[in-house]
Symmetry: C2
Subunit: 114 residues, 2 copies
Amino acid sequence: MEQTYMKKADLANVLKLLGDQTRLSVMSYLEEDECCVCEFVELLNMSQPAISQHLRKLRDAKLVKEKRKGNWIFYEINKGHEAYYVVHEILKQIPDSKKELDELSNNNLRIICD
Amino acid sequence: MEQTYMKKADLANVLKLLGDQTRLSVMSYLEEDECCVCEFVELLNMSQPAISQHLRKLRDAKLVKEKRKGNWIFYEINKGHEAYYVVHEILKQIPDSKKELDELSNNNLRIICD
DNA sequence: CCTCTATATAAGTAATTGCTTATATAGTAA
DNA sequence: TTACTATATAAGCAATTACTTATATAGAGG
């Protein structure tokens, strides 16, 4: 992972997006694995429109990418983003996202479609 | 510099504070050197109360510390903050803060008191 | 003491945010 | 086609934000 340089305004915009617990959580889960909207609704115990609106902000900033898989739309981290180095450093601070995704699996609430 | 772990809510709060261009700039200057309020007013071309209000937020979050030196109150980064590791990683993305402080020196606008 | 200077605080305000509820859309599958 | 499902969008609203102007405060120095 390499050192990058960013314009202050662009960096501030990324940090503002991550400076919300819901979006920070979303990014933290996506750093572990791609997820679809209904999984976030479960994980974060929030309404579907609220989740969709947060995802739109992350998508508009190109921090995440979406792809359809059958009925579901999956989101994944955009590792090509100029801020990805620092986003990754930030997400490293959050310890338990993998565990929470695993719990979702154990409750058979994960969407698997391959 | 060591890896740390933080609660999501605490990390989000720090990121929200840094997700503002003015405060991100302030932190970036402080990463280079301690500064007093009037220097930020010059560097950022903003009103003194606006700067003071941003500094209060950073101070309330303990991201910066203050100390009086004669007539002036100097701010410095709190390197003991639990988020300092990640704050440092974030500030590394911003290239030109040292240069801007040097320009302030060249225009004899820096406050020196020892 | 009084005055000056740097900084902090208070009050007010326009813009932004993050939700809500209701509705639209885009694929899937019969 | 029609019905169904997952997701997106729209409209509305209360809370928060980042300024503004005016004023208060605290320490320095006569």
